[in-house]
């Protein structure tokens, strides 16, 4: 028998033999060498290296490591917020609803688009149900008290076992809405009513829009207080209001690793430019961009008659 015929016979029968324990009839009789080699292959595939002994501890180590460590994932890099500014404060910052997210790598769904704008990462995801991430399994429930195995990435209220609404998840800790609101109260905010004093407690130059749509005026600015009770100089939130009571928010923060943030949204994300800088237009009602070492987030009020995107862009571009 020619060697290559045996080689072919072996190669062609191996998959079947490994998966089903069956070799072509007559192999043992007519091609005993091949039969032996197939047997050997099966033995090799069945060697028990003791994987099971380590499985659980590996699982814990891997999933804990990826949430706690400062690894290279874009999620971790972008998603750090500093100090006393609690998770809830962040939700105020970008004017978004805080919801139970997926763990880095868990947010598998369908990522439609990712925009990287320096220290800002904007990701558009498709609305869908995702399996509850390992870390949250058994810990989140629907309003009827049923443990969730799937969660919707869209607005879905989720609760703890005690029925408390969950606002978010940060660093291995589930944050209830109550916690978040209390943290915010504890943090304290400094409010500034005089537009001339915006730079008093900031590290960076606070720029304001030169253009505002009809009826809008500066109402107030707010800063989060640090543990020592003084305003944190890296952040400032500006609020404008029109005669109909609609709000326009302009949040600013000094760009750094610590203030960097990321956002996942189901709204359409469009890459635009603001004065030549790449920017993200989210759902036609907010724009995020980085310019001159400052991160900007401009958000229009979605209630009632909202500003259209051309207006928003005009406002953003007038910030110089």
């Amino acid at each position: 028998m020619k060697p290559n015929t045996s080689a072919d016979a072996f190669t062609n029968s191996l998959d079947d033999y490994l998966n089903h324990g069956k070799m072509p009839s007559g192999t043992e009789k007519h091609d005993p060498e091949v039969a032996d080699l197939l047997d050997l292959g099966k033995k090799l595939s069945e060697i028990d290296f003791g994987a099971r002994a380590y499985k659980e501890q590996t699982r814990k180590a891997v999933f804990a490591a990826t949430t706690a460590s400062d690894s290279a994932t874009i999620w971790q890099k972008s998603w750090f917020i500093k100090g006393a500014v609690a998770a809830a404060a962040v939700s105020l910052f970008v004017g978004v609803m805080f919801s139970p997210p997926a763990i880095a790598g868990e947010w598998m769904g369908k990522i439609i688009k990712t925009l990287s704008l320096g220290y800002i990462e904007i990701q558009q995801v498709e609305p869908e149900n995702i399996p509850v991430p390992y870390e949250l399994q058994g810990k989140i429930f629907d309003e009827h008290g049923n443990a969730l195995t799937q969660m919707s990435v869209s607005d879905q209220k989720v609760y703890t076992a005690d029925g408390e609404e969950i606002a978010g998840y940060s660093d291995g800790v589930i944050i209830t809405k109550q916690d978040a609101e209390r943290d915010l109260k504890d943090i304290g905010m400094t409010t500034i009513h005089d537009a001339a004093k915006l730079n008093d407690y900031t590290n960076f130059e606070v720029k304001v829009p030169a253009y505002l749509p009809e009826g809008y005026q500066f109402e107030r600015a707010e800063q989060y207080n640090n543990d020592d009770g003084l305003p944190a100089p890296e952040y400032i939130n500006l609020y404008y209001r029109n005669t109909q009571g609609q709000e326009l928010k302009l949040f600013q923060r000094e760009a750094s690793e610590e203030t960097a943030y990321g956002l996942s949204t189901e709204s359409r994300v469009e890459e635009i430019e603001i004065n030549g800088q790449p920017a993200a237009l989210i759902g036609d009602s907010s724009i995020d961009w980085q310019s001159d070492g400052v991160l900007y987030s401009l958000a229009a009020d979605k209630t009632g008659q909202s500003l259209n995107k051309e207006e928003l862009i005009k406002i953003a571009e007038s910030i110089k």
Binding site: F49, K55, R59, E126
Partner: protein, 192 residues
């Protein structure tokens, strides 16, 4: 001030938006499905259970970190996963600067402490012989054997990972099997 990390997102604004794309398995499911295969593959290459555990963890950390970049449909998940595993091993070998041939201490240690039924001991002995026999293979042959029998990959997938052709993989595997068989017969003969 301590650092915190949080994720957050905006409210859904476009419920009518649909986008048909291939779905991806969740990372938990990936762990379930591939843990043992990766562990076995790494064990084949390192011969040491403790190293295998360590490296398997590293492989998963990388998988988790990069999973968001994986596009189903571009190449099979298996090829992607085992390419990461293979590269992790390459880095490990380079770093440790010694090519681990079979380190049997860990496996032998476990068995010597056991006084189980005869059948169990024999099983372990035959597994030991198999692992010992791997030392007659070249590095490339051993890599392919590890991918075939440790990782459980098909020749066509092995070819992609090793940058070779399917037929070449078949030839090398066949040759490796014959070498192993010959070595095992020699061991048997010596013991007899």
């Amino acid at each position: 001030m301590h650092q915190q990390r949080a994720w957050f997102r905006t409210e859904a604004a476009n419920p009518e938006m649909t986008c048909k794309q291939q779905s991806k398995t969740s990372i938990s499911e990936v762990f379930e499905a591939y843990y043992e295969r990766i562990f076995n593959y790494v064990s084949y290459r390192t011969g040491n259970r403790y190293t295998a555990e360590d490296i398997t963890s590293q492989v998963f950390e990388k998988i988790v970190a990069k999973y968001h970049t994986f596009q189903p449909g571009r190449r099979p998940l298996e090829v992607w996963i085992f390419t990461i595993a293979k590269n992790t091993l390459t880095d490990h070998f380079r770093a440790s600067q010694r090519h681990n041939t079979c380190s049997l201490e860990a496996i032998e240690e476990k068995d010597s402490k056991q006084s189980g039924p005869e059948a169990a001991v024999i099983n372990k002995e035959s597994e030991l012989s198999l692992i010992q026999a791997l030392s007659v293979l070249t590095d490339k042959e051993r890599q392919m054997v590890a991918l075939r029998f440790g990782a459980g990959l098909k020749n066509v997938e092995i070819a992609k990972i090793m940058n070779s052709s399917e037929s070449n993989v078949g030839v090398i595997l066949f040759r490796s099997m014959k070498k192993l068989k010959k070595e095992l017969e020699r061991e048997d003969y010596n013991e007899a």
